[in-house]
């Protein structure tokens, strides 16, 4: 019998040689089930010397014999008999793991992308992915928080999440879009400072759910407070449709990318006082998924989100 210390040390080796343990169990179960080393080797199509080595390794690890090799027939020891069920479970679990992993890898890759990507653009991405050997299924969501939640809960395999520009793979400079054509001069928050004396309708900057993140929302709110705007002049809207409708019918402005402004038929100006930038990065558990999005589809995704060509 091994001492407690020796048990502990051998457990450590087990963690490192986990696969070896599974293969050893596979061999052990086969020898038990098929009544001998040569039979086990024949049925499992593994060399007999390998089967013997694996069983011997397991016995050495346990410090006890699993089979009596004294007579011509191989006899399973009492310990061996007790361990067979659990060894069978281990092997079964390992196989199930392999199958599940393969399913995941062979399954189509679901990816959550920002809501402002069009149907045509999504189709273009899927086509490019297919050419690279992956079936891509695109879902679109206008909420950065929702996409992040989906990938963390494994409802999708990958997502484009919102990050501060210094961590981003794609950067999208934001500005304000409105109905009035005001040329190319940058927009200053101070220009919509309320004038209580003249009582003109105050102009609001509307922030969409996509930009409801600290590096965009909080920077803008702080800037608004410093420029003596009222809190209602810089708000997050729950509905992009409502926001665009407010912009179309009044003096309000929508915080968005130049690409979005063009799509909505609005005039766009970049932010003047401080740069406000959407940053996108890939969140994906599987390395190949990440590589597909960050490398192979890099340009295409950049075009879809309206990113600027900048060394990242």
């Amino acid at each position: 019998m091994l001492s407690n210390t020796e048990w502990a040390v051998s457990m450590l080796y087990d963690i490192v040689a986990a696969v070896d343990l599974i293969e050893a169990c596979r061999a052990f179960v086969a020898v038990h089930e098929f009544g001998g080393f040569s039979n086990a080797a024949a049925v499992t199509e593994v060399q007999q010397s390998v089967v013997s080595r694996r069983v011997a390794g397991l016995e050495r690890h346990l410090g006890n014999r699993l089979f009596e090799r004294s007579s011509r027939r191989v006899q399973t020891t009492a310990l061996g008999e007790s361990l067979v069920p659990m060894a069978q479970d281990l092997v079964r679990q390992a196989d199930r793991f392999d199958m599940y992993a393969r399913q995941l890898i062979d399954a189509p890759m679901t990816v959550a992308l920002p809501g402002n990507i069009s149907v045509i653009e999504s189709a273009g991405l899927a086509a490019a992915a297919r050419a690279a050997g992956t079936r891509l299924i695109v879902s679109r969501s206008g909420s950065a928080a929702e996409r992040h939640g989906d990938v963390r809960a494994s409802r999708v395999r990958a997502a484009l999440i919102a990050v501060p520009p210094d961590q981003a793979r794609w950067s999208v400079p934001l500005g304000v879009a409105g109905t009035e054509e005001r040329g190319v001069l940058p927009f200053l928050m101070e220009s919509i400072r309320p004038s209580p004396r003249t009582r003109t309708r105050t102009c609001r900057v509307l922030i969409q759910a996509e930009d409801d993140v600290p590096h965009i929302r909080d920077n803008l709110v702080r800037l608004a407070a410093r420029r003596a705007l009222t809190p209602e002049q810089c708000v997050v809207t729950s509905s992009l449709v409502d926001a665009v409708s407010d912009v179309l019918s009044g003096a309000d402005l929508l915080l968005c990318s130049q690409k979005e402004a063009t799509e909505f038929g609005l005039a766009w100006r970049p932010m003047g006082e401080m740069p406000i930038v959407r940053g996108y990065a890939v969140s994906a558990r599987i390395h190949e998924d990440r590589v597909l999005l960050e490398e192979q589809l890099f340009r295409l995704i950049g075009n879809c989100v309206g990113a600027v060509r900048e060394p990242s």
């Binding site: 702080r222 407070a225 009222t230």
Partner: protein, 316 residues
Amino acid sequence: MRSWLEVEHEVRSILTPVGLDASVCARDLSSREEVSIAGDRVYPIASLAKVALAAAVLERLQDGTLDRATPVPLLPDLLADSSGLAGTSQFRHPAVVAVEDLLYLSVALSDNRASDALFDLVPPSDVQLFLVRMGIDGMTVRHRFSELTSTGLEALDDRDVGLRQSLVIGERTAGGGHTVAQFDISRASSGTARGMVELLDLCWSDSGVEGGFDRHHLRTLMSQNVIRHRLAPEFDADATVWASKTGSLGNLRHEAGVVTHDDGQQIAIAVLSASSVRAAKQPAAEAALGAVARLVHEHLRVVALRRRRDAPRRKS
């Protein structure tokens, strides 16, 4: 004429968009008709306490304990943070100012240094006793004004105004308490809108120098208030006199005063407010406070005019 309920509703619709929570109290000083919204909510009153201090000093001048011409030496405290303060608070050299002139500086310029020089003569506890004697229970004076600028938040420089405001707004505790003593109603000089109106009523109740303190003098000082950006824009006119005191600290913006119309009607108005916007300078909030004061004032004005119109009919 609109109901008071409608006025209340409109007040809220003016305050909410600019991030303000406010208490209002207004009283027609002749008819004693009074209206209020959250009139008994307690706030730290900041410089509004200077009105009580002035009244207490005037009482001492009246009874002879103090002489109006007594020269008071003022030594500058060059280490103190005096940003945003006015008058002798900005003096860099020693000066000598008479007691009566300190009163003017304190009330009309909200001069902290001059006020503390008056507190040297009539300590906060004595001012508090004065209030109790006068039956004003909606106000408590606890400390000197130098305490208002030694919160520790002054260490944050001007770029961090938003941070300073965030700390003031965020460190509130239940029931009006605060991590920072100057904003804690149990440790700072504090009061209610109704308490301020009571004090104003006291100051406007006599036309002369009888009984207690020279109310006429105090009324004159308040009419000479140079700080006129909050409620004054709504009341200033050649036909009216708006005499008031403002109080500003952190996210608190207050003003209490009396508008005297040339037809004799006098209406006392007190507005005490707290902002949830992380900015020190908020013109939109100041304008909103003015609009609220104006609304409430108009309600009382119309009520009084109606009463005057209806009175002869009732007799016949």
